[in-house]
């Protein structure tokens, strides 16, 4: 499974979708990368919720969303930005 997307010295073998994402992030102001990524993460969270994800599974998916978004600046080698230290939100009960 060759998916070394965090390999800073590896070749540009990123999936096309990730490459597009990196291109989008490079168009952002460095100071705006993390706030914008946070907004995107919230949007994705809403999409997942609309798909019917609930309970603990929903929390795991949300954690993955923010975890992935946190490291995207480093993966995409955004200048002046390494990671986005998103704060964990406290999701409401999903019963």
């Amino acid at each position: 499974f060759e998916d070394d997307m965090e390999n800073p010295q590896g070749p540009q073998q990123r999936p096309p979708l990730l490459q597009q994402c990196c291109n989008e992030l490079h168009q952002e102001e460095p100071l705006c990368v993390c706030p914008t990524l946070k907004g995107a993460s919230k949007a994705v969270k809403q999409q997942v919720r609309q798909q019917g994800q609930q309970g603990q599974q929903m929390q795991q998916v949300v954690s993955r969303i923010y975890e992935t978004a946190t490291h995207l600046p480093r993966v995409c080698k955004i200048p002046q930005v390494s990671i986005c230290p998103f704060q964990k939100t406290t999701p409401g009960p999903y019963y």
Binding site: P15, L17, L18, Q20, C21, N23, E24, L25, E28, E29, L31, C32, P35, T36, L37, G39, A40, S41, A43, V44, Q46, Q47, V48, Q57, Q60, V61, V62, R64, I65, T68, A69, L72
Partner: protein, 37 residues
Amino acid sequence: PAGPFRIPKCRKEFQQAQHLKACQQWLHKQAMQSGSG
């Protein structure tokens, strides 16, 4: 004069359906692929 720092309005143009669309798709894909574990 204004303050020493001026925070750009990063979210002023944020549109959930358009902004960072590829990143949203990537985040969604990664999150859903890691369902098991």
